[in-house]
């Protein structure tokens, strides 16, 4: 069953908290993963792999580089759902 964008944002925030300890309410759409949330490329990849499992989508390595903000990630995951 497809998740709404709000559900995906909440789910993604949870994954970010699990990986980095950053509070879920800090993970808002406009935030940049690297510049605002200080999430490095390795943590980013862990979050991506966990998001693939959580939302049952595929996020190819090439695509990860384009997901610079939380909003871009939410949009991609929303669209990627079957």
């Amino acid at each position: 069953m497809a998740h709404t964008s709000e559900e995906i944002l909440a789910g993604l925030a949870e994954l970010v908290t699990d990986e980095t300890g950053i509070a879920a309410d800090q993970v808002s759409m406009e935030k940049s993963f690297t510049d605002d949330l200080d999430i490095d490329s390795i943590s980013m990849m862990t979050i991506v792999v966990n998001a693939e499992e959580k939302f049952d989508v595929k996020i190819p390595d090439d695509e990860v580089k384009n997901l610079t903000t939380v909003g871009e990630a939410v949009t991609f995951i929303t669209k990627a759902q079957a």
Partner: protein, 333 residues
């Protein structure tokens, strides 16, 4: 017509002994952070590396290999002339031919042993162990010297943020020989050439020659792609190695992964759900990533720090440029 004869070897094999040689200079994070616009704190937090060993100009990869090999031979209690094959896993031979192994065999007194290099990057040592196991069981050799040897400081670009700052110099050696019981479990090994560009040199020799000002080829990687493959794909390989050996993760004494990055080691251990009782090799902390040398160096250090681990089971797994990988469960010497 008379039939061909077939060779037969020992039924079982094991790693009898290990030897280690690290670069003669300790290089701190502070010493290399400037050109990559980083800091000691960042490097420690993000990679787990505190310092790395590098060889000075007078110490070549063959010297590291020789030191490690001699320690392994002495500890094994065998004579060099009993070695049937010398295998050197390396990406540090600065000529396409002849092999480092041929020179090493000569230097340690193992001539006329078979001698060849393996180019399998950070999986090279596990490939070498797989081959030693097969050579001995088939009767092609009685003792095999497997060495992972690297002088990666020769192929480093100081301003490269993708991998150079992690790299170190060293050699680890193993004498593999016949055993009364299984000491090397079935190897899980393979490749994924679709990711050939994920890690490797930044240019070919021809390109470097055509542009002399551009410098010698150096190592680089697509860190994110390699991380994902190294953790999640390699976790599947590790689990298969355990299954095929008939060993459960809880029965391991030690886990000795290629020392690529502490974050990979941590995430990998989490994926394998290793109980706290399992010792995890973390030699990268003060040695750096030494590619083919990293597993034997890490295992050697683990045994120095935990001699009681000798005789226990260890899962070793190497993975790197190719992309290629190799894993086996072994009895700790």
């Amino acid at each position: 017509m008379a039939p061909l004869l077939q060779s037969h070897g020992a039924e079982f094999t094991r790693i009898i002994s290990l030897g280690a040689a690290r670069g003669d200079t300790s290089v701190s994070n502070d010493a290399i952070a400037g050109p990559i616009d980083s800091s000691d704190e960042w490097i420690r937090q993000r990679t787990g590396v505190i310092e790395r060993k590098r060889s000075s100009a007078g110490e070549g990869v063959i010297d590291l290999a020789e030191r490690a090999a001699n320690e392994a031979i002495t500890t094994a209690g065998i004579q060099a002339h009993e070695i049937g094959a010398v295998i050197v896993a390396t990406i540090s031979n600065s000529v396409q031919t002849p092999s480092l192994a041929a020179l090493l065999a000569h230097r340690i007194g193992a001539t006329p042993a078979a001698a060849y290099d393996i180019s399998a990057a950070c999986a090279g040592y596990t490939y070498g162990i797989a081959q030693a196991d097969a050579l001995i069981r088939s009767g092609a050799a009685r003792y095999v010297l497997v060495v992972g040897a690297e002088k990666l400081s020769d192929i480093i670009e100081p301003t490269d943020r993708s991998i150079s700052f992690l790299l170190g110099d060293g050699a680890g050696a193993a004498i593999v020989g016949p055993s009364d019981a299984v000491g090397i479990g079935p190897t899980q090994w393979g490749s994924d050439g679709s990711k050939w560009d994920a890690v490797g040199m930044n240019k070919t020799l021809q390109e470097a020659f055509a542009d002399r000002d551009g410098g010698f080829p150096t190592l680089r990687q697509d860190g994110q792609a390699v991380f994902r493959w190294a953790v999640w794909e390699m976790a599947k390989v590790a689990k298969k190695a355990l299954e095929e050996s008939g060993v459960h993760a809880s029965e391991l004494t030690a886990f000795v992964p290629h020392q690529a990055n502490m974050r990979i080691i941590d995430e990998f251990a989490k994926q394998l759900e290793l109980p706290e009782s399992v010792l995890i090799a973390r030699d990268i902390e003060t040695t750096g990533n030494t590619s083919a040398a990293s597993i034997p160096l890490a295992m050697h250090r683990l045994l120095q720090e935990h001699p009681e681990a000798s005789g226990g089971l260890a899962l070793q797994i190497g993975f790197g440029a190719g992309l290629v990988f190799g894993a086996q469960v072994v009895t700790l010497p």
